[in-house]
Assembly symmetry: D2
Homo-oligomer: 315 residues x 4
Amino acid sequence: MKLTKEQEQNIKEQQSQNFKTKRVTSPELEKILYEAIPILDHGFIRVVDYMGDDTSIVQAARVSYGKGTKKVSTDSGLIKYLMRHWHSTPFEMCEIKYHVKLPIFIARQWIRHRTANVNEYSARYSILDKEFYLPTNDHLAAQSQNNRQGRGDVLKGDQAKKVLDLLKHDAENSYKNYEEMLNERYDGSIIDEKKIGLARELARMNLTLNTYTQWYWKTDLLNLMNFLRLRADDHAQYEIRAYADAMLDTLKKWVPITYEAFMDYRVGGIEVSAKGKSIIQKLIKGEKISIEDSNLSKREWNELMIAFELKDKVI
Amino acid sequence: MKLTKEQEQNIKEQQSQNFKTKRVTSPELEKILYEAIPILDHGFIRVVDYMGDDTSIVQAARVSYGKGTKKVSTDSGLIKYLMRHWHSTPFEMCEIKYHVKLPIFIARQWIRHRTANVNEYSARYSILDKEFYLPTNDHLAAQSQNNRQGRGDVLKGDQAKKVLDLLKHDAENSYKNYEEMLNERYDGSIIDEKKIGLARELARMNLTLNTYTQWYWKTDLLNLMNFLRLRADDHAQYEIRAYADAMLDTLKKWVPITYEAFMDYRVGGIEVSAKGKSIIQKLIKGEKISIEDSNLSKREWNELMIAFELKDKVI
Amino acid sequence: MKLTKEQEQNIKEQQSQNFKTKRVTSPELEKILYEAIPILDHGFIRVVDYMGDDTSIVQAARVSYGKGTKKVSTDSGLIKYLMRHWHSTPFEMCEIKYHVKLPIFIARQWIRHRTANVNEYSARYSILDKEFYLPTNDHLAAQSQNNRQGRGDVLKGDQAKKVLDLLKHDAENSYKNYEEMLNERYDGSIIDEKKIGLARELARMNLTLNTYTQWYWKTDLLNLMNFLRLRADDHAQYEIRAYADAMLDTLKKWVPITYEAFMDYRVGGIEVSAKGKSIIQKLIKGEKISIEDSNLSKREWNELMIAFELKDKVI
Amino acid sequence: MKLTKEQEQNIKEQQSQNFKTKRVTSPELEKILYEAIPILDHGFIRVVDYMGDDTSIVQAARVSYGKGTKKVSTDSGLIKYLMRHWHSTPFEMCEIKYHVKLPIFIARQWIRHRTANVNEYSARYSILDKEFYLPTNDHLAAQSQNNRQGRGDVLKGDQAKKVLDLLKHDAENSYKNYEEMLNERYDGSIIDEKKIGLARELARMNLTLNTYTQWYWKTDLLNLMNFLRLRADDHAQYEIRAYADAMLDTLKKWVPITYEAFMDYRVGGIEVSAKGKSIIQKLIKGEKISIEDSNLSKREWNELMIAFELKDKVI
């Protein structure tokens, strides 16, 4: 990640801000506020604003339950209870805003999370930067042979080199022709003073999907956790997971108690179906059980065995 | 409005908080943060948290339009432009949280604005306070004779007294029996130690709709303005307008430039249909025009005449 | 439930409609379309429109996964897979609309599910019907002694009679005075021709919370299941559960394959935290484990023991 | 637009469906149900399902206003009234589902309308078709000189030819290398049996933004109109307007009364600010007014003059 001088200056100014407020603050998050955390080759995330902390969740829950929660001991106990029982509204009382730079094909996954506010850099108005994502060698994975949306082994040798060359060449070539059609370079200089350029809203269609874009993305804590649960998961595409993992760190700094409950109940938790539960119960009683008796499909059976690491307990 | 000692103490503590932050702050809003602003006879609103200010809108818009907005002169000019052209997403970058105490029948109108986060006091868990709304004499209006949802003249004399007596008596009586059924008074004392009380979730059904409830209500600036546009309007029921009017004041303190644009384009603005536009154009040309030629329904015609104060300009 | 003659006539007409369509239809749901299914003493639900069926979910999933899903065998297998892995968007492709009559205090719980479209009978415009909910004897429960939002034993004898008398008397009395203030009876007749009535939007505040209201409520299949998961659950208040249970039946008629997957994975399913999982694994290995070693709070421990019916397996 | 044989067969089957239903139907919309309406060079829209018609809006409004609306004469009068006064919820009672094929850079604009349900073809699972958008000559516009997001004159002669050649070449080249990296052609044939291909989720990043994708897109009537108001507008990019215009036709067939009110009040309507209103009033009184006295910015003044075609009426 290379920030422009203008961006660096901007971040420096923001970080030197020092205001007084009566609002609750999250001291650990303040420390990294505005900082650009590098992701992939040219991307970043920055926390640029937030509202509320762990105590805001507790405060909202206590308004809901009124005098009824007086006896519930600690903030931590209450937050765990809320998480365990899927109480959602208290977690909506906190809000966070990120500035994100990311490749367009990842932005297209990300935007599917609808309960968020977004302002994206518009390529109708302005020229996109000359930056595109190229995977490192260890992320240049082959298509999985048994999972339609997964990755298999990493490509090697000549094939890896060939793929990287193609990606690099096509992105650069498309960008060069983007400038050519615009009759304008990314630094704003005109290519041929005698020509007029193609409309920006049209020229952009020539760019490849690994071109970087950027946006402000704002959401509440509940929907942030919904996002992270899906996107920090093993099944998520590596490139979006890289963003989600960095955001998990910011979550930890922002609302440490909620983070802990989230890791225990959501990220580390498992869902067991009614049928699955009855199998678990039999296993605890010491019964042997086979897939034939289980009433589960093969796929479902395997998922259950993996979840509880049970391969040796079954016939 | 009478706050409990506990509430007063709580507000005092919140107001004496003094944190340092790198986040943007809104100095005028900080001055009234946590303060309970009285509404109706027992209600209030309090701003309890916020995120962003006018500059956050500008910042988001400039990310969207990129280098393209460099030339747009002032923050104020940009915010007006955004408001005029219904650009919505930059206004979503600010967030505000209110603590509101309000009668249940008003809460039922308010909750219809769905794009907001809410934590309401739960009468399943806890006993509601013994407070209910009674209109003052000047708001004790008769049903309008020509508008199915409007108010007409104020009731007077004996009839007004009778209405107030009925409202007061029925609310008090229902509350008394609510306690009776709960076998518990609002201060938590047990009425008859030998009895058990009816479940709270059931007993509450005996309360009248003017009983006060309270909630935390959080929304973004765009949806706050949508709310205020409808609820600070003349056609809104007086009781909810009382809340909306107080919230308009907090809007002014929070984001003064946005407030000004909002008052000009939304609150003071008018919408003219294609047919209405053609009538306006004829009037400007000095043509006389009658309802018969107008192609408008009588109701629509009247609305247009009132909007532009044109009664004398037409046949 | 007693329908007015007008309502009965209206339903009859709707049920005799017979149109041709190229849209997919759900034959079992068509059979009960428009039918008023009685709930509580005066309430009902009616399915009044719907869009899509089980095949619409499959169709949407197959567009998403493209040629990739060709090999996935059956519709049923695909729907189960989507449910198990929390794929949400295909379930949003179906939509259903209910007409519901329900007590106001239940409407207030219901409306908290925001992702739905609602048109409620407006007591600003019109006079509410003279109908209020009174629990039957077997639902007249005392407050639970150990659960702040639960119910305990059923009230008996004199106390039960007393409670019912109070509820009935206060609702009737409040309604009588509502008419008095309106100067108009629920059948539209004027009480005193020489008087004008209080505005409807004000008079309504005198009604008790068990008064019935009605609305059209429309949502997609995903959000319907979110609603049912919470409201058809044991922890939900009996009165809203009565509605949710009837809606479960309509779900079964509408999308039978989805219904089956929903019952197995959501309604009958359990979530196990990371800590809980490790306890389950030890139990399967035949280890004894006590609450002290479990790293769980007492409450959490109990919830796990109950979920898997394990009381005798632990120390 | 060229449909595959499979798609043609599929559409034929859907169109020959003939079910009986008690639901309301929209006869004009039924006639074109499932039909692929060509947009741009390879795109289309198809209405694939719907729920409700004009009468559903009226039905919902009458439930809201109860007996109060009995006197409101016609369905048409009521729908106009609702539209004029921005009553939103009755329009949410109708739902429509489209199948859309569109270039990715247009999909990225479209998806910003969040209140909709979407299932998009996934390039993680499957290989995208070899189809990309190329503008026709009359839409190959230059960047506007005075509007940062607008189009100016059409490019001509050699420059036009050059631009089209670049777009065509880069799209084809990127696609060819996409296949190369996948080691698989769009028809599913393997290129080199001895190699394994790059993961699909990675290879897609090499495609250009004019590549076509497709999705199911479902929304309610209110949000469809919000979409069309913005996207069928002159300020919208031509390519998305092409879709919106075709959708306006389907709106007309589906809910003809609503369509008419929408065209009059929304599409053909104008919003006038408080300041603008006072200028209009002066002009009607025959006063001359200049920009200096107007209290408007130059930009705002021009917008007002254009809206009412007033250039000659002012100083």
